[in-house]
Assembly symmetry: C2
Homo-oligomer: 156 residues x 2
Amino acid sequence: MADLLTSRLGYLLKHAQLNFAASGARALEPLGITGRQLAVLVVLDAAEPLSQLDAARELGVDRTTMVALVDELEAKDLVERRRSPDDRRKNIVGLTAHGKKALAEGERLHKETEKAFLAELTPIESELFLRILKKLAADTAREADGEPDQDENENA
Amino acid sequence: MADLLTSRLGYLLKHAQLNFAASGARALEPLGITGRQLAVLVVLDAAEPLSQLDAARELGVDRTTMVALVDELEAKDLVERRRSPDDRRKNIVGLTAHGKKALAEGERLHKETEKAFLAELTPIESELFLRILKKLAADTAREADGEPDQDENENA
DNA sequence: TATTGTTATACTCTATAACTATA
DNA sequence: TATAGTTATAGAGTATAACAATA
């Protein structure tokens, strides 16, 4: 690949993201989980017990997608479903002991990955970069048009 | 969506990218092309004529994917295929007059979008951000393991 | 009637395998 | 034999529609 496109912001964002995702995947490989699955564990490790729909909203995914995510984690014995006694339509999803261990180790690996990824930067650059990125990620970025509320394409 | 994940680098990169892509798509809407298609036009507007495979390499996509990309652009009369006289296996893909116009206008809209996206930043922040992003996007980010040459997942 | 989880289905994106025509 | 373009096909990933259980 040459670099006709490498000065384009979209290209840079996409490839920075791909690079980081690849690093994360590599780091989590020995744990046997994906970055996606780690993110789900993070969300499910909340103070209050979450239903599948609660977790789906937190992750920004469809509830049908959430079914598959929980299926995966349950197959690995990282989480378990139980019917909510308060509302028997709901599945409360909680981490198993194994899941809590995987979460802790995954978070450790994840932090290492972030650190390694930003290692080339000075602490000041690093801080500034994250601050800017937060702005750009939060920004709904709808400039000129007045669309009322189009649903965002959200992923963890 | 709440923000349990919003301090994670992966999340920030992904959502900054999604936001920018959405802005770009909105900006190009009146032109009737996608950001992807604009990137293909940029590549095909090279000094030397490119075959489909040349362009695919430049874009970092598979040659089968390239077929579809050229099909789309040809359907919109933005590019045209012609057999290479030197090697009749090759399709040289060139921009039509209409394609050149679309490219110019698309690039104008694209630059506006980049500018708007970075508008909240000071010029110094902007410059620093792009410089850092370039580093992170270029970085193959293979830290601890010595894999010889795994093919990257490339997209424009 | 509305909501939660589920399944079936479809759609997008992209890659692999196989075919053709050329070299 | 190898390469360029093409087609058919399959695999992720995710969404929509419909259904059962529950509210």
